[in-house]
Amino acid sequence: MSALQTAFAAALSVILVLLTAFTTFTVRSAIVARDSAARTGWISRIGRASDRDTQRWAFVAHRTTGVAVFAFLLLHVLDVGLYAISPSWFDDVHTLYSTAALRVFECFLLYAILFHTLNGLRLIALDLVDIRNATARHLLSLCIVVTLLLGTAAAVVILWPVAT
């Protein structure tokens, strides 16, 4: 790997570590918020009845995917901006995007973008149309299904070159 590619991989690794920490913090906050009096550890409380509220977890997922997409966007602006400095530097870094590891990362990124976009539209609809709780839950299910369908279809296209 060239120096530029190493720097890009290092920056991406830092983003992924920070994102994992943020996700852990957000999930922990969501559980502790509902269970401030509990004596057991927060990890052992995952999956309780109070946690089976999909809209709560949609809120957590919306936050996490939002931070993930924004963090990658910052890095992506930098790596695309390399073209203004040197087209060969741009080519050098962007060779990484065709590796298997980055293709897998792109799939997860696509799932995150899809969910964040669709759930964002659901929240806007909630504000504008004043839909009821049951409808909001159904719309969330629709968001999840569409995310999985579109994401999986796109993932096949993204991973096809390394799978064949």
């Binding site: 509902r34 309780r48 109070s50």
Partner: protein, 243 residues
């Protein structure tokens, strides 16, 4: 963990003849680390969670919880049953129930066992000026009037705190007014006879107000009176933006 047991006759003061009984194992969050947490009580059907708590208290008189009206009017007995906030006097225990986990409302400091300090809830309630202030037309709103329907939409709130317990935002944002206070604000703002509309909209629109709601809808799912505080907040948000 010790399990206290009593016979059906001892735990049910209203047992009559061959009325069907349900034996339930209660796990109750106790503030004293050494206190008994698990109880086995027998209840005559139909039974509600408050019956189980009273049966548990007969086994251990130190068990702390609040209740008053027993008919879902006062909002005093709100607790979490299997993690979900509800009124103990309203939550039925079905004949096929084997176990129940009872905990104090989330988002409040625990005073003792299931008793919580609701001061933050009432402080938020006070901030929206929760009483009617005459200032508009003095005539009663006629039945069927659109304005009256808007008022009645959130009027049944009994301030039990279940929505507060279900709201993740109040825990992470101490300044947030919470669903009940904002629902109360909407009820008064919607009333065209009210004279403090501008003040209430100002409070609702400022820091800690309607903009902090993330539309998780936990409050709406939890409300034991079937109200929709989340819709009230969204409506109030639109009105405060226009104002």
């Amino acid at each position: 963990m010790a399990v206290l047991e009593r016979s059906r006759r001892q735990t049910n003061i209203e047992t009559a003849g061959d009325a069907p009984a349900t034996t339930v194992r209660l796990t109750i969050a106790r503030s004293d680390a050494g206190a008994v947490r698990e109880f086995r009580v027998a209840l005559t059907q139909p039974a509600v969670v408050l019956d189980a708590l009273l049966a548990g208290q007969r086994l251990d008189p130190s068990l702390g919880f609040r209740y008053s009206c027993r008919v879902a009017m006062c909002g005093t007995c709100a607790v979490r049953v299997n993690g979900r906030p509800t009124l103990a006097c309203q939550q039925p225990i079905t004949p096929d129930t084997d176990e129940l986990l009872l905990e104090p409302l989330a988002g409040f400091a625990v005073v003792r066992d299931l008793v919580v300090d609701t001061s933050p809830f009432w402080n938020a309630w006070r901030r929206v000026v929760p009483w009617f202030m005459p200032g508009g037309p003095r005539e009663a709103l006629p039945a069927g009037d659109a304005s009256r329907a808007e008022v009645e939409r959130g009027l049944d709130c009994i301030a039990c705190g279940a929505c507060w317990s279900a709201c993740d935002v109040v825990v992470t944002n101490a300044g947030y007014l919470g669903p009940a206070a904002l629902n109360r604000a909407l009820t008064l703002v919607a009333d065209e006879r009210d004279g403090a509309r501008a003040e209430r909209l100002r409070v609702a629109g400022q820091q800690g107000g309607v903009t902090h709601c993330h539309s998780i809808l936990g409050c709406t799912a939890a409300c034991p009176k079937g109200l929709d505080p989340s819709a009230s907040i969204r409506r109030l948000r639109r009105w405060s933006l226009v104002a």
